[in-house]
């Protein structure tokens, strides 16, 4: 089903944060948000090879689910024992909420399943972190467009599952971020 496939694509693209260039990654997430799993299936393996990205076995499974195991380039992607440790540095910023952050907040509030919204900065690039969301790929696409409209040419929106293992990139991002919003559930801790 497209949902499962889209979820696999979304998780894979999530894990590739920091390993693929931002300008490519946000476009792939944009394609995914528009229902372009086939497009991703055609382009993702080649881009992984082009950027010499090695993927773990779990990620390879995701890739095969996303693009189909019969894709000729799937096997060509380098294997990796574990994802490489991130070298990105995140800063929480001064907490100022600009128009773009307000717009993002407006969207996140109305999206089902969202628990928390955080914001971080990585070398001048804003990183939006959303914890928990249903159909996260759709939310990512929407938030990216909001950021683009506000002038961010390579929006970095990480819609993370409420639970689960975080990659080193996301861990660093969460640690170096500042919360913008928490849902009532998160605040209450229920």
């Amino acid at each position: 089903m497209s949902g499962a496939r889209a979820a696999a694509c979304h998780e894979l693209l999530l894990r590739l944060a920091g390993r693929l260039p931002d300008e490519l990654l946000w476009r792939m997430r944009d394609w995914l948000a528009d229902g372009g799993q086939e497009v991703l299936a055609s382009t993702l393996p080649r881009e992984l090879l082009r950027h010499r990205v090695a993927i773990t076995d779990d990620e390879r499974e995701l890739l095969e689910t996303a693009v189909g195991s019969t894709h000729p380039l799937v096997d060509a992607v380098h294997p990796a024992a574990e994802p490489p440790p991130t070298q990105a540095e995140f800063e929480p910023g001064d907490g100022a909420v600009d128009t773009a952050a307000l717009a993002v907040l407006a969207v996140v509030r109305g999206h089902p399943g969202c628990v928390e919204l955080r914001q971080s900065w990585r070398g001048g690039q804003r990183i939006v972190l959303v914890i928990g969301a249903e159909r996260p790929w759709e939310l990512a696409g929407t938030l990216q467009r909001v950021m683009r409209a506000h002038g961010d040419r390579t929006p970095c929106v990480e819609v993370l599952p409420a639970h689960g293992e975080r990659s080193s990139y996301h861990q660093a991002a969460i640690i170096g971020s500042r919360p913008l919003w928490r849902s009532a559930t998160a605040l209450v801790g229920a």
């Binding site: 944009d30 055609s42 382009t43 040419r153």
Partner: protein, 699 residues
């Protein structure tokens, strides 16, 4: 150079403007400029397929074709929605504000890449793509009048410059004529022209002041071309690189000449079109030239500047601008072609000698350039009275140029050119080959006289002297443009000269003349054998040999100035031929010196594999060379021990050097070890001269 593929991809990108977001288009243009068309098409197709974009039929089919060519797996033919014809564009544009930052960045862009282009700016008010950026979005439109210019490269250049300047914008490069997409037409309707570099195609000329043109761009362009180009067309032909003209008229003429020439250069090797153009050019000149002197100067200047290859490339692009005007002129010009055609032969013959002598070896390299000189020569004003062979003035510009024929047209000689005017133009005067000419031996001077000029200039004067003595070995360089030389100053050894002038070093000089002339001890490399110097030479051999270890780079306490000694030492060394000897054939000390000699040899080509140490010796040579260059030449004093001049040595061909080396080796060996070795090696057949030195040596 434009290729159909890039042009097609560029056109596809133009057609996709406004259908994908501007960043994707900018990225795709960058990829195309870098030659990654396939990736650009893949990205665009993926975005369009993911967005399920509805495209007009021609755009959709073009995209399908491009995706198929790029071998993407997307299958847009099936994935894209069916095409829908469009009626115009749904995008709206507005003129930029007065203080638009993008306009400022555009004006700051250098002029050279934008020659022949008109740049306009508009702001798009409507979003584009699935994730549009802020609005209004700046769109820079460039209308190119020169078809040969790489549109995709220009796009990338301008876009990157704007990005660096902090004013990113979309850049759309369009041909000045021809159909344009509705998107761009809508933009052009309201765009404001920022700069117009169409009038002057020569970047080195002072830039024309940006013309404040409020007129709507499309109308302006439609009118601009016919009005601007025809006057330029009437240039006195191939003077693409006319020097800064003293008169505006001359500037115009040279401009036109450049354009015409570039058309010629583009046509290159074909003589017929070149002749046609030459005929046309001459016809144009006839019609347009009221001041023949001015033309002559222009011709001279252009001839000098002909040599700048990069200028010709610019000219090529510029020439395209006047294609239409040229076409208009051509029919009229062709009417006169018959008559000028005769003149074509006339000047061409006149220069045929030089050309034969000089261009033959470098035909392939000179083809394009020869068209230019042919064109220039075809010009009656320029070529008619070319006194020719000797260009009198130094020509720094001429140095790299492979067309010695143009020497006569150097700006340094306006007077002779004017004399040409006195000749009736239509006259057809067959030029006799008996005109004073370099000796046929010129041909053996190697493939290309071009690099010759400056670096080896110092050695020329002595050659002349030798030529006087030896008819058979007159160097071709006599006819060549030669910078002013100080004969007594031999600041460079032949090896150094040859190093500086790899193509012409030893081959340009009479091979054995100086060496074999016993009456000229100074010139003869075996001078020591020529006269009483032989004794000095022998004695000096020992000294030279002693000094050879010094050549290794250590201080030379024995000799005087190391640089000067170095010249003689290595000259002697390689002449000794010990390097050519098998190590076993030489003594231990000689064997050790072999390496040095080998390194010192001006001609290292035959023995690179044999003498690895030559590499570092080379560095010594470099050091020495600089030392020598600074030192005023005192060749006689420095060369006492060897009796040879470095320049004399440089005159030898490789074969001769080897023979000399062997000869010298024999002598050395004979002196040191075996008398018998003297006879083993062959003696050059150049004459009985050789017989003299050995006798002396053997004494």
């Amino acid at each position: 150079m434009e290729d159909p593929t890039s042009g097609t991809t560029h056109d596809l990108l133009l057609a996709l403007a406004g259908r994908v977001d501007d960043d994707l288009l900018r990225w795709a243009r960058e990829l195309v400029a870098l030659g990654e068309d396939a990736r650009a098409v893949e990205m665009l197709t993926a975005s369009l397929v993911a967005a399920k974009a509805v495209l007009p039929p021609h755009v959709r089919s073009a995209l399908v074709t491009a995706a198929h060519t790029a071998r993407t797996d997307l299958g847009p033919a099936a994935a894209l929605p069916p095409p829908e014809p469009e009626d115009g564009t749904e995008h709206r544009f507005a003129a930029p504000a007065g203080d638009d930052p993008v306009a400022g960045a555009v004006l700051d862009f250098p002029a050279r890449p934008l020659t022949g282009c008109t740049v306009l700016l508009a702001r798009r008010l409507t979003p584009a793509g699935t994730a549009p950026g802020p609005l209004p979005h700046p769109v820079v439109l460039v209308r190119v009048h020169d078809r040969t210019r790489r549109a995709d490269v220009l796009t990338y250049q301008l876009a990157a410059a704007l990005e660096r300047a902090g004013a990113p914008a979309s850049v759309e490069v369009l041909p000045a004529d021809g159909p344009i997409p509705a998107y761009h037409a809508a933009a052009l309707e309201v765009a404001v022209e920022l700069r117009d570099d169409v009038t002057d195609e020569r970047p080195w000329r002072p830039e024309p002041a940006p013309r404040p043109q409020p007129a709507p761009p499309p109308e302006r362009h439609a009118l601009a071309q016919p009005t601007e180009l025809p006057p330029r067309r009437r240039a006195p032909e191939p003077h693409p690189l006319a020097a800064p003209s003293p008169t505006p008229r001359l500037a115009e003429e040279t401009d036109r000449a450049g354009e015409l020439e570039h058309r010629v250069v583009e046509g290159t090797v074909e003589d017929t079109p070149a002749e046609d153009r030459a005929a046309e050019d001459r016809a144009v000149e006839d019609r347009a030239a009221e001041d023949s002197a001015v033309e002559d100067r222009a011709a001279e200047d252009s001839a000098v500047e002909d040599r700048a290859a990069e200028d010709s490339a610019v000219e090529d692009r510029a020439a395209e601008d006047s294609a239409a005007a040229t076409a208009r002129l051509r029919p009229a010009e062709r009417e006169l072609s018959t008559e000028p055609a005769h003149r074509l032969d006339d000047p061409r013959e006149r220069y045929a000698d030089d050309r034969d002598e000089r261009d033959e070896p470098a035909e392939e390299a000179d083809d394009a350039r020869r068209d230019v000189p042919e064109e220039a020569r075809a010009e009656p004003a320029v070529d008619a009275d070319e006194p020719f062979p000797e260009p009198p003035s130094p020509h720094p510009l001429a140095a790299p140029r492979p067309v010695p024929v143009d020497d006569g047209r150097r700006p340094a000689r306006p007077t002779p050119l004017r004399a040409r005017n006195e000749r009736p133009r239509p006259t057809v005067t067959p030029i006799s080959r008996s005109a004073p000419k370099p000796i046929p031996l010129v041909k053996r001077n190697g493939p290309n006289p071009v690099p010759r000029p400056l670096p080896v200039g110092e050695s020329r004067p002595p050659l002349r002297r030798v030529d006087d003595e030896r008819d058979g070995f007159a160097p071709p360089q006599d006819e060549r443009p030669e910078p002013v030389r100080d004969a007594p100053e031999r600041r460079e050894t032949p090896a150094l000269e040859s190093l500086a002038d790899p193509l012409n070093g030893p081959l340009h000089q009479p091979l054995l003349a100086p060496l074999l002339d016993p009456t000229r001890p100074e010139d003869g490399p075996l001078g020591r054998a020529d006269d009483g110097r032989a004794d000095d030479g022998r004695a000096d051999d020992g000294q030279a040999e002693d000094r050879r270890p010094d050549d290794r780079g250590s201080d030379d306490a024995v000799d005087g100035p190391a640089a000067r000694q170095f010249d003689d030492e290595w000259s002697q060394e390689w002449l000794s031929g010990t390097w050519a000897m098998a190590p076993s054939a030489l003594d231990e000390p000689a064997g050790g010196r072999e390496e040095e000699r080998a390194e010192d040899e001006p001609d290292r080509s035959p023995r690179p594999a044999l003498r690895p140490p030559a590499r570092h010796r080379f560095s010594d040579a470099d050091r020495e060379r600089s030392d020598e260059a600074e030192e005023p030449a005192a060749p006689d004093a420095g060369r006492d021990e060897t009796g040879m001049r470095s320049d004399s040595i440089a005159r030898l061909s490789d074969a001769d050097r080897q023979l000399l080396a062997r000869l010298q080796a024999e002598l050395l060996e004979g002196r040191r070890q075996r008398i018998g070795r003297r006879i083993t090696n062959g003696v050059p057949t150049n004459g009985s001269h050789r017989g003299v030195p050995p006798d002396d040596y053997s004494a």
